[in-house]
Symmetry: none
Subunit: 224 residues, 2 copies
DNA sequence: GTTGATTATGACTAAAATGTGAAACTCTTG
DNA sequence: CAAGAGTTTCACATTTTAGTCATAATCAAC
């Protein structure tokens, strides 16, 4: 995962191309979708989409609907493109959980600036060196975990799982939730595979392994 | 800490009052500052300011400078108020770490909507609340129950049952109703099993166990 | 008080969920 | 294609829980 992925949804290909050009030039990966249904389809199959730019006016399924649908499953930032001056639209958007609102016609510079502002905000953990909790230090950029200053070797899944636990510190996580977030959205395997990974994590974390608590009949929770 | 505090900085008192009115009506605590220096002074003396609304044009120290100063020590969200149409300003703002940019004149509704959008994003901890009744604190997110501040261990069913009681505080609940809500609707076992769980709950709750009252010939009721 | 019904309680058992080690499978690399 | 790491599955041990039952205590009505 090098470049951040941005999903651009607009029915006009000319507009998609314009936006894409500027974003690519600023170092992002751009994925396009031509209507709402395609957008949702793409969003739930492609992993790690960092931000969505969404046109309001689209045939079949409009931007609000797409937004509503996505907000039911994800907090991925959404920027809405809409016709200038419609205040009602803007209010509706904020209620739906739109993060930013840009009126057409807009300057591509403004667009890029806002994209970066949002990504700086939400993806700030990427830039942060390392999260440190109770002697466990997790560096997502370097993919390194240290316990009391000593580096320990974790596999990819173990690392992702630990990161997920730490990010949701103090929250009870059901197996289903863990599968949907650490594994792919469409993973159909056995939920018990989580147990195996938890076992390995616990043993590799040593004493600190006890912070991963079992919630009987429910799932797991990371808590110090 | 009940209401969130918002610092409003503008040299025009009329403008401050306008913004304040709307924010107060939306349930925020508003602190005012009339210029940049006062703003910084207030910001670093008052604790827990959740958001800053900053006018660009101010005598002595303008908004950009205030922003720069604050960003050196804090990530508190900043909304800038600036004259409409000055794109250069907007770009500068994003570079400085401004979170949002609102052009004057603006509708107060938009202002409130944006404030709420930002606070929802940054202050997402608001959502994981714990219900607290007569010394019994139930945190559904963390799956933790505390009695007078001391955590007690409950099994899955016990937790669900207690949560159901507390949610229906003061309401008489028949065994049938309890079975349908806490157990699966297709549970065909003995209704007496509720008694056993109530017994366990009462004993684990200690003194507070008395709040679960028996309604003879009918069921139970949680009442303080 | 006595009676019949209802609820409380403690002990017990069956069932369910989790822990664990090893085997099977997958995917990459040399 | 063999080796090796990472992942997943499986079987079995272990732990925890839910539910049952017998008995004791309580209640309402007479």
């Amino acid at each position: 995962m090098d470049k951040l992925k941005i999903l651009v949804v607009d029915d006009e290909s000319r507009m998609r191309k314009l936006v894409k050009d500027f974003l690519v030039r600023s170092g992002y990966d751009v994925i396009e979708a031509a209507d709402g249904e395609e957008a949702i389809d793409v969003f739930f199959t492609v992993k790690d989409i960092a931000l969505i730019i969404l046109d309001v006016m689209m045939p079949r399924m409009d931007g609000w609907q797409v937004c509503r649908e996505i907000r039911q499953h994800s907090k991925t930032p959404i920027i809405m493109l809409t016709a200038r001056g419609d205040e009602r639209d803007e209010l509706l958007g904020f209620e739906l959980g739109v993060d930013e609102y840009i009126a057409k016609p807009f300057s591509p510079k403004i667009l890029v600036a806002r994209v970066e502002a949002i990504l700086r905000r939400t993806n700030s953990k990427v830039s942060d060196e390392a999260v440190d909790i109770a002697g466990i230090s997790i560096n997502k950029t370097a993919h390194i975990v240290k316990v009391d200053g000593v580096e320990i070797e974790l596999s990819f899944k173990e690392f992702e799982l630990l990161a997920y636990f730490v990010e949701n510190q103090g929250i009870a996580l059901s197996r289903e939730k863990i599968l949907n977030n650490v594994w792919n959205y469409d993973y159909f395997g056995d939920a018990r595979t989580i147990d195996t990974h938890v076992k390995k994590l616990r043993s590799k974390l040593g004493d600190k392994g006890d912070y991963i608590k079992t919630i009987w009949g429910m799932g797991y929770k990371f808590e110090c």
